[in-house]
Symmetry: D2
Subunit: 153 residues, 4 copies
């Protein structure tokens, strides 16, 4: 990694640390950060019994939650406070308690303060390998101020 | 209400009851059903301290969760098990602990087994009245089997 | 209509006139403005033989085009130049040459410079009445300058 | 390329040929197929004067049209008739007459008859290289019958 790359990586790690330190929702849902890099983040979340809907599968909003968190970490990885303008999610397969969801977010495009991030949420299947549970696309807007000091005390 | 209307209303209420009885995610997030009718549902959720992201505002996925639940109740209100194919959400204003989010879902269109539902999420503001926090649009697919007996035991 | 209402209506009509005068795409596709009011527009487009895809039905992008134009007229109806940040469309029924598509756009919400508009595209069916062909949701951003004089010469 | 790969490529090429032979909308808009492969398509479209909106830039629906066509070719490349359930598009930069739009579609995920395809629309900029004009995500549904013979006569 070049000096510039190492610095960008340090910014990404520091931004994630600052953000997640105060993110109580992410902690309450048992998420953990697996990886962060400039424009990229991987977040994992085991599906718990209290995340299940009336059909016995993981509530769609809980699948969206792990994707949204990976998106938030990825779009803040450049060190500027960046918020979600919105997102779209398509559900492709169910997940259940005992599954571990892994959301991998990558920056697809950006222009000015706007960004588009793609997030795939997968679960490991003993027979099929990684099964895609949902595809998420986030729309971000940078606020133009640094993450360091941007989070609430 | 006519006899037919009364029956449709009874189906809507019974479907919501069956669905929510086993929906542990909805219970864990402190949501309550305010109203249900054919093609329509209102769900409320107080924003708790453990729903907050790194910026001190309600995590976007928690806003999506209350909208998604109202969507699920509304699209199952005709008595057929109906699942989310996906949804899109646009965030318009932040919300914070102490706010009470109210998600109002209404059916917009349907064709065959596909449906489109709109959900507005608002919070009460002492000065401005109801402030729109987010607009959500859900895409549903009916599975063609009855809600009664369709939920897990 | 009150004096204020009459003025808002005049702004809506004048904005549509200015926009559409230079909108060559709309003219080339044979669209016509049926109605405009503050936050609302209705645009019609007959489906032509040259709008058909390989399956003999109207190309999805042509359905999107009439919706997008109704959205553009509606979101510019307050007299400020407003552009599309993006949109989502769900297709519910096919349409064919000879059908007349009617797109009805209404403002759903706005906050600051952001707006959300819903557009239903329908066609008349001799037996079923109005059939919904597609549901479209547009995301708008106002640029904060007047439509009058904002269009190209 | 293996024998299997060569056959899949032949199916992709033949499917595109069948589809586009009868796609009058695509022809009327001056689009050309640059490339097709299993799960992938590249379509180009020069922006014409009659594709311009009231602000002098390419109409958003025309940008969507080239993306939608690349999506259609890509999702039919496996030889099964596949239609659009819907799509989402985010606009990132304007384009103008004289620009050549290039839409590159790739399959992101699929499950059963459902698929998710990503399409980037770019234009060449003399100084900046490829500029992303829009990001499009399509939702597809296979109808389970072959493209060969599936198009109208």
């Amino acid at each position: 990694m070049t000096g510039e790359g190492a610095e960008a990586q340090a910014v990404a790690e520091r931004s994630a640390e600052v953000m997640l330190a105060n993110d109580r929702a992410t902690a309450a849902l048992g998420m953990s950060l697996v990886e962060v890099a400039p424009g990229r983040a991987v977040v994992a979340m085991p599906v718990r019994e209290d995340m299940v809907n009336g059909w016995g599968t993981c509530h769609g909003a809980m699948v969206a939650a792990v994707a949204d968190t990976a998106f938030a970490v990825a779009c803040n990885s450049y060190g500027e406070v960046t918020v979600a303008g919105g997102f779209d999610i398509t559900f492709l397969a169910p997940s259940r308690p005992g599954d571990r969801l892994v959301a991998t977010a990558t920056r697809r495009s950006s222009a000015g303060r706007s960004g588009v991030y793609d997030v795939s949420v997968t679960r490991a299947d003993p027979d099929l390998g990684a099964v895609v549970v949902a595809e998420f696309r986030g729309r971000s807007r940078s606020l133009g101020r640094p993450v360091e000091g941007g989070a609430r005390a």
